[in-house]
Symmetry: C3
């Protein structure tokens, strides 16, 4: 794996660190690696908890890699769920019989936010987390699941604000909206995450799987619901409005450290 | 239009100011004007955002006009959805292919609260907003949609408290409950509202409409769900308990500026 | 009744105090008494509000009585809903045509938390309430309804954290999660509870019943959803992991005042 580093403090706990410099964009390669990880997690007899964190304290995951041509996916097996490849692997992640946790430091926007919405539990660093669905800034609605997952998590009103407003949410505001479970002072963040993951890793794997399965039935969207959203996303992505935004944004520093990526929630509309 | 004044800062943004002195009650005339507005919004090719605000800083909308005889509605076309006229226009408002925002300063109770629950996004002035469903004070449950919209927005426990308790909620408490998206200090309120509405007005109308359509499917009640609620409301309205309350309340200053309307959440039970 | 003391400040309000020393465990006897109470509440023509509180300021209800052998239930009529006896009486409680309120002082864990989740409205003492589903500590998922009620109340992410993490939540954190309606400073708690219950007790019983019936349809799980959860709970309860935990925990002070019960959210994993 190039993007994910997995360490296993115990047989029941995997810590997965995401590292795709310089700003942790999510690409076809990331999907391929995440598939391998999900394949392994589905059948591991001891695993109870997967913790996702970032090697880069400024970027949990900037967004989808807008230089990606998805051709590397062509040689891969077709998505198990029949959905678009990114949607597919997030659906499978959300249905794993283990608890997945996102420890959010730095920015998580677009596909990065959709990734963390597909994990079970989200903890945010109060001072360092900055999350949002910036897609409408560019002229397209999110296509990787945020449209289905946000309303179920934060209710209609706040979901429409997050999606249509396309702004950044810091840790505390994200907690007030229910976008994350909890905002934790950064100085206490590592200890909190360690303590919580070890706690859950110490529980009975079978009981966790059973319980999560029941919760899945009540809370997960039907797989089919995502298709119109991913179709529309890819249709608009190549249209003049979105492709124009992308061209201008790359000229202004997209996918590089600097002001545009740092303040994308604000700067995106000025591109 | 007598109750609504529409200004159009750009082709994609309408600012709608509600003004029905002295306390902005909602009446058959308001329904007729809101219908006209919704008719126009449904077909406008450029509109992306409608902002609703009040010309009266103390009253966003006091409640339904209890002197209204609804006879003016008799000469109007029948409701499009087949539901009661107030419910009908709120259903249509909630399904508009544009984002509707309530900027809440002052009191919004009863039908005023049901109106803002039918808009997509609710921002409240921290110091000046006061919202609630006071109906149970008078002996009847809300009939204009609050019973269906609140549980989906704030969950069963808080919805039952808001409905059965019939109390006022200030901006901060309304935010903690999820009754509004966010409570904003009044000194920053105008700038916040301007900034957010212009932001969304700058996005792609087609992408917004598509996204909101998907969210509607997941979050809006079925139209038929409202009928028993509006039927029961009108049946009880003319019964001895509610009509007795109304008579006494008018003697004590209902629908006039003053203590009863200002503190209706508290004073309502003392009528 | 031995566990519940009912006082009736008026014909529309019952105050029910739970007292089963030393830590208010919930047992078959409690179920039998709660059935009697629910039977009476279902047919009382004047009742509008039931307030549940604890005679013990440190324990609202510690958890299920792990010395209980359920044999006393054998001579009772079968559960009305066809569900397991504890689940059955909580389903019936949640569907009563009156508003039920939990005034939470002290600890409410496991079955104690499931009881308060089955009431309509939950108010917590900021300083004294401590609630949680500690069951996963012992190796089993909650079997009395928490798995179905929590996701609908607090959303998928926070429900999975509460269930899998099995930790204690104080009043303020419980409010931020939506686990309770509101956290109230203990010094103001009694007055707040008195004021709210009398308020609702003064409303029209028929209108309350009608309104709650509509909310029930939108928010309550189907009765059948609980069966796999209670079946799995009782299957695991007698297995080696859970029964081992129970044996060790009794040796360390379970069901007695002291450190284990006081800090069960933390201490449970160390048993």
């Amino acid at each position: 794996m190039n993007h994910f580093t997995i360490t296993k403090p115990s047989s029941s706990l995997w810590r997965v660190s995401f590292d795709n410099p310089p700003v942790n964009v999510f690409s076809s390669q990331t999907i391929i690696e995440l598939r391998t990880l999900v394949d392994a997690a589905e059948t591991d007899p001891d695993l109870t908890v997967i913790l996702f964190e970032s090697a880069n304290p400024d970027y949990f995951s900037a967004h989808w890699d807008l230089t990606d041509d998805t051709s590397s996916l062509a040689s891969e097996p077709p998505p198990v769920t029949g959905q678009q490849a990114f949607v597919d692997v997030l659906i499978r992640l959300s249905k794993l019989p283990v608890i997945s946790i996102s420890a959010i430091r730095g920015r998580a926007r677009g596909a990065g936010s959709e990734f963390l919405l597909a994990t079970d539990i989200r903890f945010a660093s109060r001072e360092r987390a900055l999350i949002g669905q910036f897609e409408m800034t560019t002229g397209v609605a999110p296509g990787g699941g945020a449209v289905s997952r946000l309303p179920r998590l934060v209710g209609r009103g706040r979901a429409l604000e997050i999606l249509a407003g396309a702004d950044d949410f810091d840790g505390d505001l994200a907690e007030r909206y229910g976008y994350v479970n909890r905002s934790i002072p950064d100085a206490e963040f590592d200890e909190f995450i360690n303590s919580f993951t070890h706690r859950v890793a110490g529980t009975d794997r079978g009981a966790v799987a059973e319980m999560k399965g029941w919760v899945n039935e009540m809370t997960l969207p039907d797989d089919q619901e995502f298709r119109p959203q991913s179709d529309a996303f890819f249709a608009r992505l190549t249209g003049p409005e979105v492709s124009g935004w992308i061209t201008r944004a790359f000229e202004q520093g997209l996918q590089q450290p600097g002001d545009l990526e740092e303040r994308l929630g604000t700067r995106g509309f000025e591109v």
